[in-house]
Amino acid sequence: MDAFTVHTGTAAPLHRSNVDTDQIIPAEYLKRITRHGFEDALFASWRNDPEFVLNLPQYEGSSILIAGPDFGTGSSREHAVWALQDYGFKVILSSRFADIFRGNSGKGGLLTAVIPQDAIEKLWEIIESSPATPVTVDLQERTVTAGDYCCDFEVDDYVRWRLLEGLDDIGITLEHADAIAEFERNRPSFKPVLN
């Protein structure tokens, strides 16, 4: 995983709450067995609407998505994270993320930064009046800056550390291999096993 420190790019406003992972990527696209190539699947059904925000020329090439509350609810499909990344998004801003989606994002290197809904609305206003405004997300300082506006964001400390360092979770866990083996030796025999 690549390390994440500071990202600057343009942003797209998504005026929706409860954006579930079926909207981010419909189940039809989950039949693929690869980890890449999902950009065409992102928001597939909404993209049929010419007025959908990602179809508007002023938001072309944006890498930061600014969404309403409860982003990423529903299915655990990590394909949602891959589709957002394949499309070019590096950061999602929302006042609240669903737990599994947020966890999946952290594993894949997509930053989910939590800011209050009034900050979301302020950013929507700035972006909509001037879509070319560069937005800077600084993970070290935990800030979002757009023009003169700046606010702090929340992110889990552990996720932040892993993103800053670009660390692989499995590698970290395997440093505890002896403790895992010791735990296994003491597991009760009544726990089910398959033969």
């Binding site: 409860n18 039809e28 059904s45 299915s75 895992i180 597991r187």
Partner: protein, 468 residues
């Protein structure tokens, strides 16, 4: 101070305490299916890591598979490749797989409990958000993404931040004709789709204790729709009776040891939850969703709400969007909404008790003209049991389609889909836009309401039916 059920199971699985960082937890059982695993197996191959515990890993084919012609090769080539990939991966890494056509095949969350692989006090994960189902046994069970699937394959552990705990106290008795599904839809409508975020829910109280294991699984299954990764119910005599004699239930001395451990798996009287809510079961009625998330629901005897009655602008916008998508008008009585399809099945309501409840309503009646009723058992064993009881014949006589086991129209990855604009009453768990097929409109209901709706052609509960 005392501990909650969730805290007990958590602490019994800690390998390494994180001290502010995540704890490293041992995983007792890893359930695998074709959709969220191929990239994880690829990850193992790319890093040269073995799958640590094939004996604690089990796979089934459910999400993507057809429910007709199950003895023939899968017609959709993309689906077929994914299913064949699972077969090759399980072979290569030594994982037990129940493929299409196997007696044990079915939806992963129906298969685990029926084999006795789901037991109290276990940690259970799966690359599927409805893993919360297994919490009905007092297990800590939750859905994970594909990176975590690979992590569990490689290490049999997960690094996790402790959850907060929330008690859902359901006091009193459910009235006759009100099911576990109605109860959980009412809970989600009350706390919202984000209300459980960061929490493990523990369902408690008289109405929960009175539920069968099937009903408890329906409740825990939909915890994720309230934003909670896991829901739990303390094991009791009902739980033990269900597990006893199942193929993987403990035997002999192990059974005795298991029982004495399971007895400890209750929330201590002096334990404190981070949050508690109380619901009066006796006030509940059959419940249905009108919108595009599971929190947008009302008792079936009410009407489509008016967006103007919502004061929060974000919520009002969400209601306007939902009504536009669902093609509903404010004030329309819910019971006047006509459906095209009724889907009975899924990991929420595809167990034998659900099929019995629906069959009981539809017996000696006919599916309304122009309505399609699709009955999809949760597992092959459920299908066989239902056929043994003659339930298949009741559904067929009514004019329903009787299918093979799988996830089917719950998520429409296989050919069972709604067409654009088509409307369903569905016993599944998600009414998201397009969930059951692009442009499809979904109303979530209980098996009893599904059956009554199939007969009348409009959203209905069994008391709306003419006596036969």
């Amino acid at each position: 101070m005392g501990r909650t059920l969730a805290e007990k199971v958590w602490s019994d699985h800690i390998i390494h305490e994180g001290d502010g960082l995540p704890d490293l937890l041992y995983i007792d059982m890893h359930l695998v299916h074709e959709v969220t695993s191929p990239q994880a197996f690829d990850g193992l191959r790319a890093t040269g890591r073995p799958l640590r515990r094939p004996d604690l890993t089990i796979a089934t084919e459910d999400h993507n598979i057809p429910t007709v012609d199950v003895d023939k090769p899968i017609a959709d080539p993309v689906s077929r490749i994914q299913v064949e990939t699972l077969r090759k991966n399980c072979e290569e890494f030594g994982v037990t797989l129940f493929p299409l056509g196997d007696l044990e095949q079915g939806i992963v969350h129906v298969v685990g409990p029926q084999m006795g692989l789901t037991q109290p006090g276990m940690t259970i994960v799966c690359g599927d958000s409805h893993t919360s189902t297994h919490g009905a046994f007092g297990a800590l069970a939750f859905g994970i993404g594909t990176s975590e699937v690979e992590h569990v394959m490689a290490t049999q552990t997960l690094p996790l931040k402790p959850f907060k705990t929330m008690a859902i106290n359901v006091e009193g008795k459910l009235p006759l004709g009100v099911s576990a599904k109605d109860l959980i839809l009412a809970v989600i409508a009350q706390i919202g789709t984000g209300g459980g975020q960061g929490y493990v829910l523990e369902y408690r109280g008289e109405a929960i204790k009175a539920l069968s294991m099937e009903g408890r699984m329906t409740i825990c299954n939909m915890s994720i729709e309230a934003g909670a990764r896991a829901g739990m119910i303390a094991p009791d005599a009902t739980t033990i009776e269900y597990i006893k004699g199942k193929p993987h239930a403990p035997h002999g001395e192990d059974w005795t040891h298991a029982l004495s451990y399971w007895e400890t798996l209750v929330t201590d009287p002096d334990a404190k939850f981070d949050k508690e809510i109380t619901i009066d079961a006796s006030s509940l009625r059959p419940f249905v969703t009108w919108g595009t998330n599971p929190g947008q629901g009302l008792p079936l005897d009410q009407s489509v709400p008016d967006p103007q009655s919502f004061s929060d602008p974000v919520e009002r916008k969400a209601v306007e969007n939902a009504l536009a998508y669902m093609n509903l008008v404010p004030g329309q009585p819910l019971k006047e909404i006509a459906v095209d399809t009724v889907f009975l099945g899924s990991c929420t309501n595809g167990r034998i008790e659900d099929l019995r409840a629906a069959a009981n309503v539809i017996k000696n009646r006919k599916v309304a003209r122009g309505v399609r009723l699709l009955v999809v058992p949760g597992s092959t064993r459920v299908r066989i049991e239902a056929e043994h009881e003659g339930l298949d014949q009741i559904f067929l006589d009514a004019g329903a389609e009787w299918r093979g086991a799988g996830c089917s129209m719950c998520l429409a990855m296989n050919p069972d889909k709604l067409t654009p604009g088509e409307r369903s009453a569905s016993t599944s768990n998600r009414n998201f836009e397009g969930r059951q097929g692009p442009g499809g409109r979904t109303h979530l209901v209980s098996p009893e309401v599904a059956a009554a709706t199939a007969v009348r052609g409009t959203l209905s509960d069994p008391t709306d039916l003419v006596e036969v």
